[in-house]
Amino acid sequence: MDMFVVMLALPLVSGALLTLAGERAWAPNLNILASAGTFLAAVLLTVEIVAFGPRFAFGEQFFIDSLNVFFVALTAFVGFTTSLFSGPYMKNERARGKLSVPRLRLYKSMYQFFMFTMLAALTTNNLGLLWVMMEAATLTTVLLVSLYRTPASLEAAWKYFILCGVGIAQALFGTILLYFAAERVLGETGNALLWTHLVGAKAFLDPTIMSLAFVFLLVGYGTKVGLAPLHNWLPDAHAEGPTPVSAVLSGLLLNVALYALLRCKVLADGALPAGFAGNLMMGFGLFTLLVAAFFLSRQKDIKRMFAYSSIEHMGIITFAFGMGGAIANFAGLLHMTLHSLTKSAIFFAVGHAAQKTGTQRMDDIRGLVKINPLIGWGLMLGTLAILGMPPFGVFASEFMILTHAMQHHPWATPLLLLGLGIAFAAIFGRVQPMVFGETEAKRLPHAPAITPVFVHLALVLMLGLWIPPDLARWFHEAARMLG
Amino acid sequence: MSVAGILGQLFALVLALLLAPLLTGWVNQCRAWLQNRSAPPLWQPYYTLHKLFNKDVVLADGASSLFRVAPFVVFGAMALACAIVPSLSTDLPFAPAADALALVGVFGLARLFISLAAMDVGTAFGSLGGRREMLVGFLAEPALLMVIFTVAMIANSTSVAAIVATLAHRDFVIYPSLAFAGVAFTMVSLAENARVPVDNPATHLELTMIHEAMILEYSGRHLALIEWAASLKLYAYSCLGLAFFFPWGIAERDNLLALAAAVPLLILKLAIGGFLLALIETVNAKMRIFRAPEFLGTAFMLAVLGLLVRLLLETRV
C-alpha cells in the first residue's frame, strides 16, 4: 500500500465522512483515529524516504524529498496531538454552551480538510497546485475561525479571508510570472511549474522576471506567514478562533506558508544575483521581529499575545533563511520545528486555562498552578521555552541564528537581541502572574488532555540538549537543498 | 625570635597594662589643673579599678551571655593592640601577628563587641550609645586607615614595627604629608577615645554622651575591665601616634641599653602628650553629636589629602 496515498486520502475521506456523520457517537473518535492514521502513514512514509530517497507520486505532480518529508511528519504529528487535545476541549466548549452540534461537525470535517490541504501543499511538486492548496487552506480555516459566530470571530474571519485572499492573489501573480519565466526555458510542456524541473533550470530563468515574481511571491506567501506589515490578520484570527485552530494555525499553517516561500527562494537564488532574495527576507524578518516584540507588551488577550509571539518567531525564522548558508538554514529548520511544537503546546495549555477561568483576558487569569498544576506548569515551561530559555530547544536554534548573524551580519545582532529582550519582558511579565498567585478554582466537566502539552515540551527539551544524529543529518541535507 | 625579644615584648605589654591607667589619671589631673579644679590623685584610676573589681557584678535582667563576654574580649583586643604597637622597642616577636591594618581591625573588633553589648540589655541609652559609637567608628576608621596608608607608603611596609624602624632610623627628612596625617590622626584619636570635642568622658548627659551611654549597664569587674580597656586604648593610640610622628628614642633590635633609655623617654613623651590632650579638651567645647560627622569627615579628608600630598610631592615617578 502506498503510504503516500493513504496519508493524503485519510484526511480527505474522513473529512467527507465527518461531514455526513452528523452527531454520531463515534465522530470524535473518528477525528482522532483519522489523525492518528495520518500520522502513522506519515511516519512510515518518512521511513521510506529516509531509506530509499526521494520519490514521485501521481505522475510528477507530487514529489517527496528530504526537505518536505520531515515537515509532513511534523505536520501529521502536531495534527494528531491537536486532535487529541481538541477532544476534551471541544466537549467542554459544548458543555459551556459556546458551540452547537452542527458547528462541532463543521469543526471536525474542516479540521480534516485542513490537514489534507496542508499535507498536499507540502508534498506537491507543482507550484501552481501549491498555490491552490494554500488558498484552500485559507478557505477551510476561515470557517474554523468564525466557528463561534460571535461578532468578534466574524470580524476576525472576514479580515482573515480578505487579507489572505488578496495576499495570496499576489502569490498567484508571482506564480504566473514564474511560469512565464520558466516557459521560456522549459517550453510549453506543462512541466514549467514542476519544482523538480524548475530547480534544474533555475540558473537560466530570466532575472528581470524572477525578481518581480519573487517580490509578488514574497508579499503573497509572506502575508500568510505573517510578516509585518502584512501580518494584521494573524492576531485576530488566532485570538477569536477555537484554540485547537489557533494551535494548528501557528504550528502548521505558518510553517507551510514559509515552506512555500522557501521553495520560491531557492528558485530566485538560482536566477538572481546572490543576496537579492536573502536580503529581502532578512529585512522582512528583522522588521517583523521588532514590530511583533513591541506589539507584545500591549496585549490583554492571552491568545492574541501568543499570536504576536508567533509573528515574532516567523520573523526570526525568515531572517535565518534570509541569511542562508548551511548553519543558518539548519537553524531555521530547527527553529520551525521547535516553534511548531512549543507554540502548539502553549496553545493547548492556554486553551485549557482559558476554559478553566472562563476568560481570555490575562488580567482575569490568576493562579493556574492552583487550579491545575499541570496546566500551570505546562504554560510556564512552554512560555519559557518559546522565549528561548535553555535548556529548551528554541535556545539552540536561536543560539545558532544569533551566532551566525554575529559572524556574517553583525549589524543585525543588536536588533535581534533587542527584539528578543523586549519579547521576553513582555510575555514573561504577563504569563508569570497568570500561572502563579491565588485564585478561585473551578472544575470542568471533562478532564483536560495534558499529555500532548508535555509530549511536545519533552521533545523540545530533548532537542535543546541532544539532536538525534538522524535528525541532524536530515536537517543538514534539507539545509543544503535550500542553498 | 630571640629570648630577649620575647622578654622585651612581655615587658612592653606589662608596662602598657600598668601605665595605661596612670596615663588616664595624668590626663584627668592635667585637665583639672587647667580648669582650675582641684585634681584627683594621680593613682585614682587604680583605686577605681580595685574598687570595681571588688564589687559584685549587678547584671540587668535581660543581659545575655554576649553581654558578659564582651568586656573580656574588649580587654583582650586592647591588650593585643598594646602588644603590637612598638612603645619601647621595634623588636617585637608579636608584631608580625598583626600589621597596622590588622591593628585597625583590632580596634574595630573591640568596637563591634562593645556596641553589641550596649544594645544587649535593650534600654534606650544602650542602643543610642551603640549607634553613635558605630557612627564615630565608621568615620574614624577610614581616616585612621588613610593615615596608616600614608605612613605605610613612606615606609614601604604596613608592619608597625617596620614603619617605626624606618621612620626613626632614617636620615631626617621632612614629609609634608605627615603633617596632614598627624592632624588627622589627632582628630581620630580624640574621637576614638571618647574625648572632647566628640564625646565627654566626664558627663552622663544623655543627649551628648557616647561611650558612657554604652556602658551604663556595666558594673563590677565588667566595668573595671572596660575602663581598663579604655585606658589601654588611649595608651595604644598615644603610643601609635608617638611611633608614627615622634619615633625617636625607640630601641632597635638587640639593644638593651637603648631599651633602658626608651622607658623614661616614653614616659616623658606620654606625659607631654597627655598634657596636650588635656589642653585640647579644655580649650574646646563638646560639639553637638550631629557635628561629629563633619569633624570626622574633615579628619578623613585631611588623611586623604595627606595621601595625595605623599603621592604628588614625595614620589618620583
Binding site: A425 | G105, F138
Partner: protein, 670 residues
C-alpha cells in the same frame, strides 16, 4: 594517570544532584522524606564536590566532551584550577546550606511543593557546577540560563504574594538581558571564526577595539547577574523573596559564578587586558560597594539588609578584579596575583559568612514568622545557637579579624598599597585614593552588621510573640556550625589555602604568591615579604583568647566571681518598654542624614496639628527612577506607536499590503 579523573567525578556529582532532584518528584508531597533523606544526600554530594575541587586545584586541566548539545558543538567541559576554586566554593558552601535545608524544609508549610522544591534546588546546584565546567559558549549559556531559571523558580516558591512575583520577574528579566549580553560577548570573542569552543576563543587574536567590546559586554552581562550598580535592582528584591536556604545559595554561591565568568572572560578568554578595563571595573566596583553598603545600613528588613550587603561585597570583588586587571595590563604579575588572590579569597569568605547569615535569618524567620527588624529583638535569649553562630558571620561580614572577611580585605588593601607603583601618570595617584572608599565601605559594613545583629538578636523583644521563638533544630544547627567553622577556618588559616589558590592565579597570570609565601611558616600570611606586611591570625586569635581566659581566671582568683541580677536601670522612669529601644530606622538615622543625596527618601514628619502624629520614612533606590522607569516609558511609547499599525480598519491593512508591494516593485531590483 588516575583511573577516575576529577572532571569525571564532578560530572558524576552533577548527575547525582540531578538524580536527587528527580527523586523529589517521586514523592512530591512528602516533606519528611524529601527533607530528611534527599537534602542530606545533596549535602553529601556537595562535600564531595568541594573535596574534588580542592584536590583538582593545581592539577593539569582536564577536558571532556559530552555527546549532548548541538551537532557541531557538543558540550565541551574543562576543569582547570580557576574552575576548581569555584567548585570548592560551591561544594563546601552548598553542603552546609543543604544540611540546613534538610531541617528547614521539613516544616516549611507555607507555599511550595517539597518535591518540586527539591528538584529546583538540586537543578540549581547542578547547573552551577556545569557553569564552572563549561568549556564552550553553548554549554556555558545552557548551564547559565538553567541556573537562572532554577533560581527563579526557587525565588518564586511563595508566589502567593504579588511582590514576590514581581521580584522574580525582575530577576529573570535582568538575568536574561545579561545572558544576551554574555552571548554577544562570546560572539565578539570568536572574531568571526564561528568557533565557540573556549579553546578557540583563547587562541583568537582580537583587535583592541573588539577585545574591549567583549570585555564591556561581559562586564554588563556578568554584572547583571552579580548585581553591579546600576544593574543591581533585582537583587534586593529577589534574594529576600526566596526561602532562606535559597537566599543563602544565591548570595553565597550564585553571585560568585558571575565573578567566575568575569574572571574567565577578562583574564582567560579576551586576551591581554587594556589598562582602562581595570579602571572601568574599579569604578563600577567602587560605586557598587559604596551604594550597596549605604543601602544596607538603612534597610528595615533583615534579608534585604543582607542582600544589599551582598551588593557591597560584589562591589569589593569588582574593585579587586579591576586592580588585578590594572596590574596585569602593566605586566606587574605578582601584584596582579595579590589582587586576584584577594578576589578569590573574598569569594570564598563571602560564600561562607553570607550563607551563614542568610541561614540565620531563615531560623529567625521560621521561629518568629517575622522579617521586619522593627518587630524583632532579644532573640539571643531564645535562640542562643543561632545568635552566636550569626555573630561569627557578623564579625566576618564586618571585615574584622580574626575571621575570614578580614583576610581578603587585608589582601585587597595590601594590593592597593602597591598601586602608586603603576607606571601611569595619574592612575598611580587616583587608584590609591580609591582605597579610601574601600576602607569607608568596610567601616560602613561594620555599621550594617552591628545593626543587623544588635536589632535582631539583642535588646528586648519588640513583640510579645517573640517569647514563643525556639532555637534551630539539629539539622539547621549542623549546617550553621559547618558554615561558621568554614568562616573561622578561612579566617585563621589563610596561608595554607592561599598556597593552593596559587594554582589559579598562576594559571591566569603566570605568577603567584606561593614561592614567597612557602618560605614563611604555615601560620603566617605575608604575601610579598614579612618585612612588607604580615598577618598571623592564629597568633592573633590566640592572644585574644588567652587574654579573655587569663582575664577571667585572674579576676576570679584575685577577687571573686559574684554576680547578681536586677532590673535594668530605667533612669527612674519605669514606663520604659521595648519600644524605647532604637528601631531599625532610628539606628540608621545618622547615615540617612549624612548621605542624604544618595537615597531617594519620602519622609513624613509629625506636625502639631496632627490628630495622630506619626513619623514615617521610605527609602527608595534612585537608579530605579533614573534608569529603569525612563526605559520602561520609552518602550511603552514605542509600543504605542507601533500598535497604531493594528488600528482595526481593514482598508488600512490592505493599504499596508499595497504599499509594501508597490515599494518592493519599485525598489527591489536585482
Amino acid at each position: 594517570m588516575p583511573s577516575l579523573l576529577s572532571i569525571d567525578a564532578l560530572l558524576i556529582a552533577a548527575c547525582a544532584w540531578l538524580a536527587v532532584g528527580l527523586a523529589g518528584l517521586a514523592a512530591p508531597r512528602q516533606a519528611r522524606f524529601v527533607a530528611a533523606t534527599l537534602f542530606p544526600a545533596g549535602a553529601f554530594v556537595g562535600l564531595a564536590v568541594g573535596g574534588v575541587g580542592l584536590f583538582a586545584l593545581g592539577g593539569d586541566p582536564q577536558t571532556a566532551v559530552l555527546a549532548i548539545g548541538l551537532p557541531e558543538l557538543p558540550f565541551h567541559l574543562r576543569l582547570d584550577s580557576l574552575a576548581a576554586v569555584f567548585a570548592l566554593l560551591l561544594g563546601f558552601a552548598s553542603a552546609g546550606i543543604s544540611l540546613y535545608a534538610a531541617g528547614y524544609f521539613r516544616h516549611q508549610d507555607a507555599g511550595g511543593v517539597p518535591g518540586l522544591l527539591c528538584l529546583q534546588y538540586h537543578l540549581f546546584l547542578a547547573s552551577m557546577l556545569m557553569v564552572l565546567l563549561a568549556d564552550d559558549a553553548y554549554a556555558f549559556m545552557v548551564a547559565w540560563e538553567t541556573m537562572a531559571l532554577a533560581s527563579f523558580f526557587l525565588v518564586t516558591t511563595d508566589h502567593k504574594h504579588g511582590e514576590i512575583r514581581r521580584a522574580g520577574f525582575l530577576y529573570l528579566l535582568i538575568a536574561h538581558v545579561g545572558a544576551l549580553a554574555i552571548l554577544l560577548a562570546f560572539g565578539v570573542m570568536t572574531g568571526g571564526s564561528g568557533d565557540y569552543r573556549f579553546a578557540a576563543l583563547r587562541a583568537q587574536e582580537l583587535s583592541p577595539f573588539w577585545a574591549s567590546m567583549a570585555f564591556l559586554l561581559a562586564l554588563l552581562g556578568f554584572g547583571a547577574k552579580a548585581g553591579l550598580v546600576p544593574l543591581h535592582v533585582w537583587l534586593p528584591e529577589a534574594h529576600p523573596a526566596a526561602p532562606s536556604p535559597v537566599s543563602a545559595l544565591m548570595s553565597g554561591v550564585m553571585l560568585k559564578t558571575a565573578i567566575y565568568g568575569l574572571l574567565r572572560v577578562s583574564f582567560d578568554l579576551a586576551g591581554t587586558p587594556l589598562w582602562w578595563w581595570g579602571v572601568v571595573a574599579l569604578a563600577f566596583g567602587l560605586v557598587t560597594a559604596f551604594f550597596g553598603v549605604l543601602n544596607a545600613t538603612v534597610q528595615s528588613d533583615m534579608k534585604r539588609l543582607l542582600a544589599w550587603s551582598s551588593i557591597e561585597n560584589i562591589g569589593l570583588l569588582a574593585v579587586g578584579i579591576g586592580l588585578a586587571l590594572l596590574f596585569h595590563a602593566y605586566r606587574m604579575e605578582t601584584l596582579a596575583a595579590l589582587a586576584l588572590t584577594a578576589v578569590l579569597y573574598h569569594c570564598l569568605a563571602h560564600a561562607g559568612f553570607k550563607s551563614l547569615l542568610f541561614l540565620a535569618t531563615g531560623s529567625v524567620l521560621h521561629a518568629t514568622k517575622e522579617r521586619s527588624l522593627g518587630r524583632l529583638g532579644g532573640l539571643i535569649r531564645r535562640m542562643p545557637w543561632v545568635a552566636w553562630l550569626a555573630l561569627v558571620g557578623v564579625i566576618a561580614g564586618a571585615g574584622l579579624p580574626p575571621l575570614s572577611g578580614f583576610v581578603s580585605e587585608w589582601l585587597l588593601l595590601q594590593a592597593f598599597l602597591f598601586s602608586p607603583g603603576l607606571p601611569h601618570a595619574w592612575l598611580n595617584m587616583v587608584v590609591p585614593v580609591a582605597a579610601a572608599v574601600v576602607v569607608l565601605v568596610a567601616a560602613l559594613a561594620g555599621f550594617a552588621m552591628v545593626k543587623f545583629h544588635g536589632i535582631v538578636f539583642l535588646g528586648q523583644m519588640r513583640e510579645p510573640a517573640l517569647q514563643e521563638a525556639h532555637d534551630a533544630g539539629p539539622w539547621e544547627k549542623t549546617g550553621l556550625v559547618w558554615l561558621a567553622f568554614l568562616t573561622l577556618l578561612l579566617g585563621v588559616l589563610p596561608g595554607s589555602l592561599i598556597l593552593r589558590l596559587d594554582a589559579a592565579t598562576r594559571q591566569l597570570l603566570g605568577a603567584g604568591l606561593a614561592e614567597r609565601m612557602s618560605e614563611q611558616g604555615w601560620w603566617m600570611l605575608a604575601p610579598i615579604s614579612p618585612e612588607r606586611a604580615s598577618y598571623e591570625p592564629l597568633v592573633f586569635l590566640g592572644i585574644i583568647l588567652l587574654s579573655v581566659w587569663l582575664g577571667r581566671g585572674l579576676v576570679k582568683r584575685l577577687y571573686h566571681g559574684r554576680l547578681r541580677r536586677s532590673p535594668a536601670w530605667d533612669c527612674g522612669y519605669h514606663f520604659q518598654g521595648p519600644r524605647a529601644q532604637d528601631t531599625a530606622e532610628g539606628f540608621s538615622q545618622p547615615i540617612r542624614r549624612i548621605f542624604e543625596p544618595v537615597f531617594r527618601m519620602e519622609r513624613h514628619f509629625p506636625s502639631i496639628r496632627d490628630r495622630e502624629p506619626y513619623y514615617a520614612v521610605k527609602v527608595e533606590d534612585h537608579f530605579w527612577y533614573w534608569l529603569y522607569v525612563p526605559i520602561a516609558r520609552l518602550a511603552a511609547r514605542i509600543s504605542a506607536l507601533v500598535a497604531s499599525l493594528q488600528g482595526g480598519r481593514i482598508a488600512v491593512y490592505l493599504m499596508y499590503s499595497f504599499l509594501t508591494l508597490i515599494l518592493l516593485i519599485l525598489v527591489a531590483r536585482p
